[in-house]
């Protein structure tokens, strides 16, 4: 059936060619399509698709509740959470401002206003007086409900001023400070995502404890470069003397000698000889903290970060670039079609 099978592949191929070779065409319509419209169309398409996703989420949670599966109470909570954010986004505006345009006696109006903006009456009066001609003073935090804003307006009108309620425009309500949606963002959404992000501090520690084991030479490289970068970039790393590291290197080398030659005398000689040599050199050079530079953590960390690390990262990036180009060509030419079930 043409529409189901061939048309999608034809769309993928034409759009693919257009966006790939559109970069070389100096014609305004194609240029604007490649630079901007292509992704705009996708963003619009993805925003429509989100409704489908939400429907599926609600369906899955509803099934859990109807079938009373294990943990259905939490599924109910998910649906309550969704309805709350849906109403704050689409049904309740949640942001009504109170604007004061004129007043007869600033003192009287100030008595009403003071409690609303948490300032004493004297300074509220000054703010009113300082209001330039023809300008209006808006209370900085809007009210969640229309009723809340309206009764403040009545009080001010009763106190001789003229105030009116201006509802924030739909669409602007999600970004105005103090609206219901903004309250949900500041007190529910941000703490949750910031805390999930902060969990990583714990997981980075437990992952490094488990993974940095000297199983083979590669794992040892991973461990050494990780530790050097970790310590080198932190203030305390700068205070670890290069000579301390030199002693550790001597001990590590002699451990290597031990496993390599498996001969006690060699190991003993390596340890004693090494320690002696380092101590003598130390005396000669007067134990400076950051000399010899190759063993001083901040300098060593900088070298590792700018040379071997850059080489490894570059190799991976070239590999990725090649992989993505080859895979994209396969999608455009229709060699690979299984993403739409062919």
């Amino acid at each position: 059936m043409f529409m189901k099978r061939q048309l999608p592949i034809a769309i993928a191929a034409t759009i693919g060619f257009l966006t790939l070779f559109g970069w070389f065409v100096d014609e305004p319509v194609i240029k604007s399509f490649v630079d901007d419209d292509a992704t705009q169309w996708f963003d619009i398409l993805a925003s429509f698709a989100m409704f489908l996703g939400a429907l599926n989420l609600l369906k899955m949670q509803a099934i859990k509740i109807i079938k009373q599966q294990k943990g259905w109470q939490y599924a109910a909570l998910a649906i309550v959470g969704f309805t709350f954010s849906f109403t704050a986004g689409f049904i309740l505006l949640g942001s009504y401002n109170v604007e004061i345009s004129q007043y007869d006696d600033p003192a009287k109006v100030a008595t009403v206003l003071a409690s609303e903006i948490n300032l004493d009456e004297k300074s509220t009066e000054n703010i009113l007086i300082a209001m330039p001609e023809g300008d209006t003073y808006t209370i900085d935090t809007p009210y969640f409900t229309k009723k809340g804003a309206d009764n403040v307006v009545e009080q001010i009108n009763a106190a001789g001023g003229t105030a009116n309620m201006r509802a924030t425009e739909w669409g602007a309500h999600i970004s105005t400070r103090g609206s219901l949606f903004n309250w949900m963002f500041r007190f529910i959404f941000t703490p949750l995502s910031a805390t999930m992000f902060a969990l990583l501090a714990f997981f980075v520690a437990s992952a490094s404890y488990r993974a940095f084991k000297i199983r083979n030479f590669e794992a040892t490289l991973l461990l050494i470069s990780g530790i050097i970068i970790m310590l080198g970039r932190v203030p305390i790393g700068g205070n670890i003397s290069a000579w301390f590291i030199l002693y550790i290197v001597v001990l590590a080398l002699s451990a290597g000698v031990n496993t390599w030659f498996k001969n006690r005398t060699y190991t003993f000689a390596a340890v004693v000889g090494g320690l002696l040599a380092v101590t003598i050199a130390g005396f000669i050079m007067g134990w400076p903290v950051d000399q010899p530079a190759i063993f001083y953590l901040p300098v060593l960390q900088d070298w590792i970060y700018n040379n071997p690390n850059v080489a490894g990262a570059r190799a991976i990036m070239i590999g990725i670039g090649l992989g993505i180009f080859a895979t994209s060509i396969r999608y455009i030419l229709g060699i690979e079609k299984s993403y739409i079930g062919e």
């Binding site: 970069w23 070389f24 489908l52 996703g53 899955m60 940095f212 000399q291 990036m317 299984s338």
Partner: protein, 454 residues
């Protein structure tokens, strides 16, 4: 498309393009010429090797441990009667890694159909949900088990990165899958998933092309497909000759890129050799070293032993030993070694010629070359015309609609080339073009200009 047909079509396209090219290639963005030809070359190699494989040429690829483990992992979860958890990344189908993740999901779905294991695919984007469902439904159909497939195998959680991670963590702890597969584009939440998967003792296989997340997967998962290995996964799992040919093509390209890399190192070095012999280079070198020597000598002669010590060793600490302080008090400037002088030059901020970065040195030399041949530069009409047109074209590309109309009205019925010349004449500042002129005079143009990529 059979061979003969393919080559004839390719031939016709090539001829048409040549005609267009020699007809002055209107509307062609020539700055991106390098990219245009590299796309043709790279694409050509890939298509050629795909066609070779299609014609039945036997190709063997090295084994990738991670991909062999996928089948084992599905087998293991069948024995334990536990589900397989598949996470196709958190980005949408506008990322190639996500599309590759859905394709690999298709192959994994074939395995779960064959082994009759339950498959659980939580997704973070609705379009990925639809694509993953189509792909799984097709795989279960091909394995002859459409009864096992139900739509809610692939279910949507949320678009938010960390809410999705929290939800998937919840699924992992409560359903305790035996195998967790992470195939797609990931960001900071990769370690959240991998650590939780590790805590429930599941086999974890990850595949991603997000360079910043590969280290976390390598440390926390049993197997990781790094960058390009992830894109080769669909070829390995399907053993489809065309795809394997594509991978082979990628290898040819790696050899090509390595040789281009070595060639550019060679060209770059030869260019420096060539510049070294120019007399601008020689006397600039001498002048810079002389002034460096003078300023180091001044510094050395009136510096106290501690700052001398610090300058020579580029150190920040103070030497405690008395004998060192005396040593530095008595050393005269003349018996300092080359290395010591280099270090002092760094701290006093007056580097020797050798310490300047190569690009700076070449630019200074080219600038001096133009100053020495000012008359040659002023009279080189052909170079100046070329630069004016190039300048005009750049300005034209940056202009908004209204500015362009202004120029079109000012210079009616003028072809593009002359219009650029007019704009260029008005806006060009010649100092910025002196270095370009000097490079133009050199025999071997710097490889970096060849690879001038937009």
């Amino acid at each position: 498309m059979k061979d003969k047909q393919f080559w004839s079509v390719a031939g016709i396209i090539f001829v048409l393009f040549m005609i267009y090219w020699f007809a002055g290639h209107p509307f062609f963005v020539s700055e991106r010429g390098v990219m245009f030809w590299s796309i043709l070359v790279v694409g050509g190699v890939l298509i050629y090797s795909t066609r070779m494989a299609k014609r039945g040429e036997k190709i063997t690829l090295r084994s990738i441990p991670g991909l062999k483990a996928v089948e084992e992992a599905v087998g293991r979860s069948t024995e334990m009667g536990k589900p397989v958890l598949y996470v196709p990344g958190i980005m949408d189908m506008d990322q190639v890694e996500t599309v590759a993740g859905v394709v690999v999901l298709g192959h994994v779905a074939k395995m779960t159909a064959r082994y009759e294991t339950s498959l659980n695919v939580p997704v973070s984007r609705a379009i990925v949900m639809k694509a993953a469902r189509e792909s799984c439904r097709e795989s279960y159909l091909l394995e002859g088990r459409p009864d096992l497939f139900h739509d809610d195998m692939v279910h949507y959680l949320t678009d938010d990165q960390f809410a999705y991670a929290a939800g998937v963590n919840g699924i992992m702890i409560r359903e305790e899958p035996a195998a967790c597969l992470y195939m797609g584009k990931f960001y900071a939440e990769s370690l959240l998933l991998a650590e939780t998967g590790n805590s429930i003792g599941a086999i974890q296989i990850a595949g991603t092309a997000s360079p910043s997340q590969i280290p976390f997967f390598v440390t926390a998962c049993d197997y990781t497909l790094i960058g390009e290995e992830f894109f080769a996964a669909s070829a390995y799992l399907s053993q489809d000759p065309e795809l394997i040919g594509g991978v082979k093509g990628q290898d040819y390209l790696k050899i090509l890129f390595t040789s281009v890399l070595l060639l550019s190192v060679l060209l770059f070095s030869m260019n420096i050799f060539e510049q070294q012999r120019s007399d601008e280079w020689k006397d600039l070198k001498q002048k810079t070293n002389l002034s460096a020597e003078k300023s180091i000598a001044d510094f050395w002669n009136n510096a106290d032993p501690i700052s001398r010590y610090r300058a020579v060793n580029r150190s920040v600490s103070e030497p405690s030993a008395e004998h060192i302080l005396n040593k530095y008090k008595n050393i005269a400037y003349s018996d300092l070694s080359k290395r010591q002088k280099n270090n002092i030059a760094f701290t006093t901020g007056t580097p020797f010629w050798i310490q300047l970065p190569v690009d700076n040195r070449m630019e200074i030399v080219n600038q001096t070359f133009t100053d020495n041949n000012q008359s040659g530069y002023d009279t080189d009409a052909e170079f100046r015309q070329l630069e004016i047109v190039k300048e005009g074209k750049n300005k034209w590309n940056q202009m908004g609609e209204d500015e362009r109309e202004e120029y079109q009205v000012k210079f009616p019925e003028m072809n593009r080339e002359d219009l650029y010349a007019e704009i260029g004449k008005e806006t060009i500042e010649w100092e910025d073009h002196e270095v370009a002129w000097a490079i133009n005079q050199r025999s071997i143009p710097v490889i970096k200009n060849i690879l001038m990529v937009q």
